[in-house]
């Protein structure tokens, strides 16, 4: 139990995928202009990460390893993730077309969110069991979502700030992201890997 808790804490905060490992920066910058969109993105990523972790574990242990096809894992995982993302897109379009609009290209691009593939591969590398894989995926997703929501709320505040002309938009967002990463360095060494 403690193990799982530490795993969750490590994946969500200490080794936050965005702010400590700099994975998944593309949606982090791209979908952080509006809180509703970011919340949708956070949920979608959480969903994809959890599902992809579980499915990739299943495929790895029951298909790839028995058949000796370990070297196919990147290809197979990408295929799998693409499938999950497609499914998510169908779901989003059915439930909230506005969110579908807001996420735009970034929804299918979850496929290429390196955090997702990263989690699937890390699960294999660290020999996580099924439960561990699910927890790792979910907490990585939660950590991504948390960072994204905090960042979005910050950016919404910056929208109304008197930012120098040269820094408006993406530059100030990147500076902010950098300072966030600086703040997250404070967690370094927290014993949880």
């Amino acid at each position: 139990m403690t193990e799982l808790l530490l795993l969750a804490l490590g994946a969500s905060l200490v080794n936050n995928f965005v702010l400590s490992n700099f994975l998944g920066l593309c949606p982090f910058i791209g979908v952080s202009r509006r809180f509703e969109a970011a919340a949708g993105m956070a949920l979608a990523t959480l969903f994809v990460l959890t599902l992809a972790s579980g499915l990739s574990f299943t495929l790895w242990h029951w298909v790839l390893v028995p058949l000796g096809l370990e070297y196919l894992r990147t290809l197979v995982f990408i295929l799998l993730i693409a499938g999950v993302v497609q499914f998510t897109e169908i779901m989003v379009r059915a439930t909230s077309p506005l969110l579908h609009q807001l996420l735009g290209i970034f929804l299918p691009l979850i496929t290429t969110n390196c955090a997702v593939l990263g989690v699937a591969l890390l699960n294999v590398n660290r020999q996580h069991g099924l439960l561990e894989s699910l927890v790792f995926g979910a907490s990585a997703g939660a950590g991504f979502g948390l960072a994204l929501l905090l960042f979005t709320a910050l950016r919404e505040r910056l929208d109304t700030a008197d930012v120098p002309h040269a820094f408006r938009g993406a530059p100030v967002a990147l500076v902010t992201a950098g300072l966030m990463a600086l703040a997250f360095m404070g967690f370094s060494g927290l014993g949880v890997r």
Binding site: R157, D159, T160, D162
Partner: protein, 494 residues
């Protein structure tokens, strides 16, 4: 009975009452001419019923209205109507149609001015109607017709009448003076108002820094032997006299956001309104005059004056010792919420409780203010009597973010000005919020208009569709009978 403030925050301000409060109320002699604004301060105007050149007597109805937010206007002076035209006035927007009456020395009194024989015999509805015809408007500062409030209070079943004698705003003391000199009028008016509103209880609320008024009103209540009329001594905290805040202090209930006091079972009237009702009952006099505080460092003898409605402010100030020093602003109302007027030619309105002639001594702090960016210190939020976050509202107002403004309650802002008062960055917050409200209201009106248009358009589309279907069916059936019907000859011309 002393009670605690129960609304969020508020602040004890420098009251500046001593200047005008020492003396008795002075009756102003009738001025040579009067400028009666048809908008008496609510933003809605009455319709004139006299013509230029017509002679009027004291108490003659000169403007009538069917609008619930406007009040009827009577001539306080016998004379001739010399002009009906748009002029500068102490109202929103700065201009209103005014009836100008020049006195002709006659003291003819209109036939309609007759004491009410027995006000107690009138039913509530009859009372409300008569008060409306008498043009009785709230004298506390908003000028809202008393009859409209009374009618809605009765419809919503208000049980408590709160008489507002808090008078929290700096400089103003006309209600204080009135309560000291005419406490029995206040109490008599209270009884009539209570009857008209269908309320059971009546609470007269006075701020604790007015001991003489408290004593006078206590005496008048004691003479009444009516347990349902009580006195509440409230803390001298600004804005204690704001309607909603006072209701919360006195009755312990909050007026729902966007609702009326009557929704909380309370109706609030000013003590001066009650006194005016008593004047109407005992003398039959419609609202012809009011007590107004003339004060400020820029006026010779500050004091309280009973003056006819429409008295040009110049005449009012001349009778109070004239200008002194270098007056910089002429403010209708107190220093916190008063409206700065461009000219002293405007006439006294029913809603004008104070004329503040301010010099640099009085308003130097504002004149010398340097606006800095908001540092989010939160002092404004800690003083806001409506529990708002002005620092966040400011951001939303600057960004013109309508949804955020609504969520953060810009419509709940009572524009008391405390946030401005305490702001260390000296930002004119209240004015920003007034502007934001105006723009929001405009946007909301536009949305509503668009929604109406959408509905009408959709109805039309449906109607056209149905018509087309019917036409199609008719055409089909006609074609079924005769293969070639008569050709419409105009059809091919273009």
């Amino acid at each position: 009975m002393a009670v605690r403030s129960r609304f969020p925050a508020g602040l004890a301000l420098d009251a500046h009452k001593q200047q005008a409060c020492g003396t008795q109320i002075v009756e102003l002699p009738l001025p040579a001419h009067l400028v009666l604004a048809l908008d008496q301060g609510t933003g809605y105007s009455a319709e004139p019923v006299v013509a230029v050149g017509e002679a009027v007597a004291t108490g003659t109805l000169v403007a009538r209205t069917g609008h619930p937010f406007a009040s009827a206007v009577h001539a306080p002076l016998a004379g001739i109507v010399v002009a009906i035209e748009a002029r500068e006035a102490a109202v929103e927007g700065g201009r209103s149609v005014c009836i100008v009456i020049e006195g002709n020395g006659s003291d003819r009194i209109d036939d309609s001015v007759r004491p009410v024989k027995d006000p107690a015999s009138l039913g509530p509805e009859e009372l409300v109607r008569r008060l409306r015809d008498a043009g009785i408007a709230g004298l506390g500062g908003a000028g809202f017709p008393a009859s409209t409030k009374l009618a809605s209070a009765r419809n919503l079943g208000a049980h408590t009448l709160v008489l507002n004698g808090a008078e929290c705003e700096p400089w103003i003391c006309c209600d204080d003076a009135l309560m000291r000199s005419a406490a029995s009028d206040v109490v008599l008016g209270a009884l009539i108002l209570r009857r008209a509103a269908g309320a059971v209880r009546c609470v007269i609320a006075i701020e604790e820094d007015k001991p003489a008024a408290i004593a006078a009103v206590t005496g008048a209540i004691d003479g009444l032997r009516d347990d349902a009329v009580t006195l509440a001594v409230v803390p001298a905290v600004y804005p204690q006299g704001a309607e909603r805040q006072l209701i919360t202090t006195v009755a312990g209930v909050e007026v729902p956001s966007g609702g009326l006091p009557a929704d909380a079972g309370v109706i609030c009237q000013n003590v001066a309104t009650a006194a005016a009702v008593a004047r109407w009952a005992t003398r039959g006099e419609p609202m012809l005059s009011r007590v107004v505080t003339v004060t400020g460092s820029g006026v010779g003898h500050p004091g309280n004056v009973r003056a006819p409605i429409g008295t040009p402010l110049a005449a009012l100030i001349a009778a109070s010792g004239g200008y002194r020093g270098t007056p910089l602003r002429l403010i209708a109302g107190g220093s916190m919420t008063g409206r700065a007027l461009p000219s002293d030619e405007v006439g006294l309105t029913k809603s004008m409780n104070c004329v503040l002639v301010a010099t640099r001594d009085d308003i130097g702090s504002r004149l010398g203010a340097v606006e800095l960016p908001c540092i989010r210190c939160g002092d404004c939020a800690n003083s806001c009597p409506a529990g708002l976050l002005p620092q966040q509202l400011l951001r939303a107002a600057l960004a013109d973010a309508h949804d955020t403004l609504r969520q953060l309650g810009v419509h709940d802002c009572i524009e008391c000005g405390l946030c401005d008062y305490v702001c260390p960055s000296q930002i004119p917050l209240a004015d920003r919020f007034r502007e934001a409200k105006r723009r929001l209201q405009e946007a909301e009106a536009m949305t509503k208009k668009a929604a109406d248009a959408r509905e009408r358009h959709e109805l039309r589309q449906r109607r056209l569709q149905e018509a087309a279907t019917i036409e199609q069916e008719t055409f089909e059936s006609v074609r079924g009978r005769a293969r070639r019907p008569g050709v419409d000859s105009t059809g091919d011309s273009n």
